[in-house]
């Protein structure tokens, strides 16, 4: 048997008009953790779909060898029978079913055609133990957190006698401690002889856990690095991924901060269903013209809820407090009120809340600002198209034309559309919720430049991010939020990750308990 469990040679995959993979080679050593990195659109997901049989043999050119044998998967079932299991970024679990049922979904444990629940639950419990998931196998999946759901997926893969486990962005939705657990688990699986391929944007994580790293760029293999032998640093990886030196991760910028123009005080929001639960508690912030203000907080701190409740009460119940813009007190009862008042909110979840993926760029760009391209409710279609064309250029959206569907673009380009559609409404204050989530390094840099342009025009930006380095790199001032309270603010000079983390985990007198329930 050869040392390599997997060899892919000359993999080429075409979509009509686009060459997604161009002769990709990749080797994975048995019993290793192999990371696959690259910008969005580099072809990582396509390559893994080919490996896992999503694209059938014959749909692409090139050869796959699994354990020295040529592999010709016609579908996912074929690949799973050969021990290749892929776990997608969006988990494929049925929330209404139990953990055990999910683990054995499609592989039901039966005796003479009847499901044996004892076997199902018993075997599931052993697998769960192996992955460190301490729950009752009969607990419904919807009752456990995303981190644990990820473990269920891995247990499910183990139940299929997995030899090669592919994880697509496994930690994207996890917090730090869950991510750590998961990466530790991958190390354990390696001991047990399971080979892992992990796709990730988090380079620090990749460097910590992977034995080898393959870099893809523009559908081609750039290089494979050995973390032990080669000197690999984050900068080195980034350079390889984007094909250029990124002097700094954040573009240089000299802020020109004007007067404070946007103020929120005493802002309290209750949960829309659990009416007695306070989600945002007497929050107060202000933003000046030309200023980028950060909002840091852990999951569940209430950042998004705070932002959305400001944005025309689009989330929450029993909202109270004051908002003033340029000294005027605002009454924002609906999203359209907020837009008219000059507030924009770019959501953290582009696909579900931010865009119409089935519609083209024109419709996405102009939707919130339709009144700008219409007279008395009648649209000027010519104007719609030319405005979109202009925004496409200004925001550097890489799409062949404005007639392209938003759903066919990469995450970075979709995010640019989201920014574009909000800038088109002519806002004074932009609330950007996780503006660079799930997008690659190169596109992040472009988004940062766009944000700088916005504040240079005298607008204010309130930026929510879970990545502390990003907040430190971009913001002139950062608020920290914990359990619904604003627990403090630090300005650029004094901001450190440690200080922010301290504020973000500060137990407040009343907030902490309520959120724990």
């Amino acid at each position: 048997m050869s040392e390599d469990i997997l060899r892919m040679r000359g993999i080429t995959k075409r979509f009509p008009g686009v060459l997604a993979l161009d002769g990709v080679d990749m080797r994975v050593k048995r019993g290793s953790i192999h990371a696959l990195v690259g910008e969005n659109g580099a072809g990582k997901s396509t390559l893994m779909k080919i490996l896992s049989g999503v694209y059938a043999h014959g749909d692409f050119e090139g050869e796959i060898e699994l354990e020295g044998e040529p592999a010709r998967f016609r579908n996912i079932r074929d690949s799973e029978e050969s021990g290749v299991v892929i776990i997608h970024q969006e988990l494929a679990l049925v929330p209404e079913l139990s953990i055990a049922e999910n683990i054995y979904l499609g592989n039901e444990q039966t005796r003479r055609g009847v499901i044996s629940w004892d076997t199902t639950n018993g075997k599931a419990a052993r697998l769960m133990d192996k992955v460190g998931l301490h729950e009752n196998p009969q607990t419904l999946v919807e009752k456990i957190g995303v981190g644990k759901q990820q473990l269920v997926e891995i247990a499910k893969a183990l139940s299929k006698q997995v030899k090669l486990l592919i994880l697509d962005e496994p930690t994207a939705a996890l917090n730090d401690s869950d991510s750590e657990n998961l990466l530790e688990l991958l190390g354990q699986l390696r001991e047990d002889g399971v080979t892992c391929i992990i796709i990730s944007h988090k380079l620090g994580e990749v460097l910590a856990v992977a034995d080898e790293i393959t870099v893809l760029r523009d559908g081609q293999t750039i290089e494979t690095l050995h973390t032990v032998d080669d000197e690999v640093s984050e900068d080195r990886l980034i350079k390889s991924m984007v094909g250029r030196d990124l002097e700094h991760l954040y573009p240089p910028h000299t802020p020109e901060i004007g007067e404070t123009f946007f103020e929120v005080s005493d802002w309290t929001v209750y949960h829309p269903e659990h009416r007695d639960r306070i989600v945002v508690n007497k929050a107060a912030i202000d933003v000046a013209r030309g200023e980028i203000v950060g909002l840091a907080g852990l999951m569940g701190a209430g950042r998004t809820e705070f932002a959305m409740s400001l944005f025309g009460r689009s989330w929450g119940g029993n909202i109270s407090g004051n908002v003033t813009l340029d000294g005027r007190r605002l009454k924002l009862n609906s999203v359209s009120d907020a837009i008219k008042a000059g507030i924009a909110y770019a959501t953290e979840d582009r696909k579900q809340y931010g865009l119409h993926l089935d519609y083209d760029l024109r419709e996405n760009f102009t939707l919130p600002g339709l009144d700008k391209v219409s007279k008395k409710g009648v649209l000027d279609l010519h104007e719609v198209t030319s405005v979109s064309e202009r925004l496409r250029g200004e925001f550097g959206v890489k799409a062949p034309s404005v007639y392209q569907l938003a759903g066919n673009l990469s995450g970075g380009n979709q995010q640019k559309i989201v920014l574009g559609k909000w800038v088109f409404t002519g806002p004074e204050l932009l609330i950007l919720d996780e503006p660079t989530r799930g997008i690659d390094v190169g596109a992040k840099y472009e988004i940062y430049e766009l944000i700088h342009e916005l504040v240079d025009q005298g607008k204010g930006v309130l930026m929510i991010s879970s990545e502390l380095p990003e907040l430190l790199g971009m913001c002139d001032r950062i608020y920290a939020m914990s359990a619904g309270h604003i627990t403090g603010q630090v300005d650029r000079e004094n901001a450190t990750q440690e200080e922010l983390m301290r504020l973000m985990t500060l137990e407040t007198a009343s907030g902490g308990e309520e959120l724990r329930q």
């Binding site: 075409r14 979509f15 009509p16 008009g17 686009v18 997604a20 969005n40 659109g41 580099a42 997608h88 970024q89 969006e90 679990l93 929330p95 009752k143 644990k148 523009d218 559908g219 829309p272 269903e273 852990l298 999951m299 569940g300 998004t304 809820e305 959305m308 944005f311 689009s314 989330w315 929450g316 609906s334 999203v335 359209s336 579900q352 809340y353 931010g354 865009l355 119409h356 089935d358 939707l367 339709l370 219409s374 409710g377 009648v378 649209l379 279609l381 010519h382 198209t385 030319s386 064309e389 034309s401 404005v402 007639y403 066919n408 673009l409 990469s410 995450g411 559609k421 985990t505 902490g512």
Partner: protein, 439 residues
């Protein structure tokens, strides 16, 4: 992301390949069905199917379905469904017949009564659907029973006859004493000319701004073919008795509603709300109000269709409009609507209705029994939607780079329930289980 465009020469072949089957497929289907019946008729009965008389009959016999289909298309685009239109139609027709015959109102007021009643019913249903957030399927299922019952009640299980100019709405060929034969030809030719002029103007603006969406050849073909179709249709109707009054009403409805759908903010809001309600809401679209008005509009159109049915039968009957809702829904789906909302065109709904109407008429002329006709129409609905699904698959194999085609878990993820708790109704649920401390 990098798109590597493989070399493309603007050959005729690529032009043909790039034809948007979804947009033109229905027209092609309608024409081929007509040609098929023409051939069958000539072979089996030695007569023509495509005659001015037959085409006029198709319009007359399907006018009310087409009116319903226009409203239904908007309802479906907005992400809902309306099962009640058949009953609403019957009720409005009954009220209008009573207004005409028993109360002695002039015909135009009787029409207004029907449309107003329909709109009020739309207010009722729209309220429950849009603001109380009860699924449209349930509300209109209730409405289907409710208004059928009310129809029986107001009619007392009898028919109420109608007479006079009211009946001309469904089958007349004159308006205010003017015969419509000559105007059909004149307006048809003028309309074609106007269409060409508008198309040229918009094209030249687009080309000047460098934002043309299609190739010159494709555009030219489209304009020439459409203009020819308009003139040919005008001439066909002219050579019988002219376009009947109801044809003019339909034409006006198609133009007005196409304009609303494509060129007004309200229209775009209907699409946006159906395509992704949460994203639309967060873009400032008043999705609830939009849905509400879509149902009011559906009610009003059902009222108008009620007038046409009553006028055609020259009486309001308790079982008028039975199953019409299903025909209207089928028309929309044949015409390219998507079950998930956000997709569809007014002209598509009308063509979908015409496909069913032509098949119905064609088989009847051939002497096919009613039971067989039903079977065939059922298969046609399935085939049309299959074609749509297949075409979508074909299209989605397109340039997808850096996305997750068929993105696995996305569809399975639970959306916010109809609880009106705002677009992020289920968000904290995802977050809660996360441990708060991360030290």
């Amino acid at each position: 992301m990098t798109i590597k465009t493989t070399a493309e020469r603007p050959s005729l072949l690529t032009a043909v390949r790039n034809i948007n089957l979804r947009a033109y497929g229905m027209i092609i289907a309608l024409v081929s069905i007509m040609v098929l019946f023409q051939v069958l008729d000539v072979v089996m009965q030695n007569q023509n199917f495509i005659t001015p008389r037959n085409l006029t009959n198709v319009i007359l016999q399907n006018s009310y379905i087409l009116i319903l289909a226009i409203g239904m298309m908007l309802v479906i685009i907005n992400g809902h469904i309306d099962l009640s239109v058949g009953s609403v139609l019957a009720f409005c027709g009954a009220v209008s017949a009573i207004a005409l015959s028993d109360w002695g109102l002039p015909w135009y007021l009787a029409v207004l009564v029907a449309v107003g009643t329909g709109a009020l019913i739309g207010v009722w249903q729209g309220f429950w659907i849009a603001f109380v957030r009860i699924p449209a399927f349930i509300v209109t299922l209730a409405g289907m029973l409710l208004f059928r019952g009310l129809t029986l009640k107001v009619l007392g299980a009898e028919t109420v006859g109608t007479s006079g100019p009211y009946n001309d709405l469904a089958s007349g060929y004159t308006i205010a004493g003017v015969d419509l034969r000559m105007p059909t030809l004149v307006i048809g030719i003028a309309g074609a000319a106007l269409y060409v002029a508008l198309a040229v103007r918009s094209r030249s603006r687009q080309v000047k701004a460098g934002i043309a969406g299609s190739s010159q050849a494709a555009w030219l073909t489209k304009v020439v073919v459409l203009a020819a179709v308009i003139v040919a249709a005008a001439f066909t109707f002219y050579s019988y008795k002219g376009l009947p009054l109801i044809g003019w009403i339909l034409l006006a409805l198609v133009l007005v509603y196409t304009f609303i759908a494509n060129r007004t903010v309200f229209g775009r809001h209907i699409y946006a709300g159906g395509g992704n309600e949460k994203a639309a809401m967060l873009s400032g679209v008043k999705t609830k109000h939009t849905s509400f008005w879509v149902f009011v509009n559906m009610g009003a159109l059902a009222g108008l269709a009620g007038v046409i049915v009553t006028a055609r039968l020259q009486a309001a009957t308790p079982d008028a409009g039975n199953m019409f809702e299903l025909h209207a829904i089928a028309s929309s789906f044949i015409g390219g609507a998507s079950m998930t909302g956000g997709v569809g065109t007014i002209i598509g709904a009308v063509i979908g209705g015409l496909v069913m109407g032509v098949m119905n008429q064609g088989m009847r002329v051939l002497g096919v029994a009613t039971d067989t006709v039903q079977v065939v129409l059922g298969l046609v609905v399935l085939a049309a939607v299959f074609f749509d699904v297949w075409n979508k698959k074909r299209a989605s194999a397109g340039p997808i780079v850096g996305t997750t085609p068929g993105g696995s878990g996305e569809a399975k993820r639970k959306g916010g329930g109809p609880d009106g708790s705002g677009p992020a109704g289920d968000k904290p649920k995802d977050k809660e289980p996360e441990p708060v401390g991360a030290e």
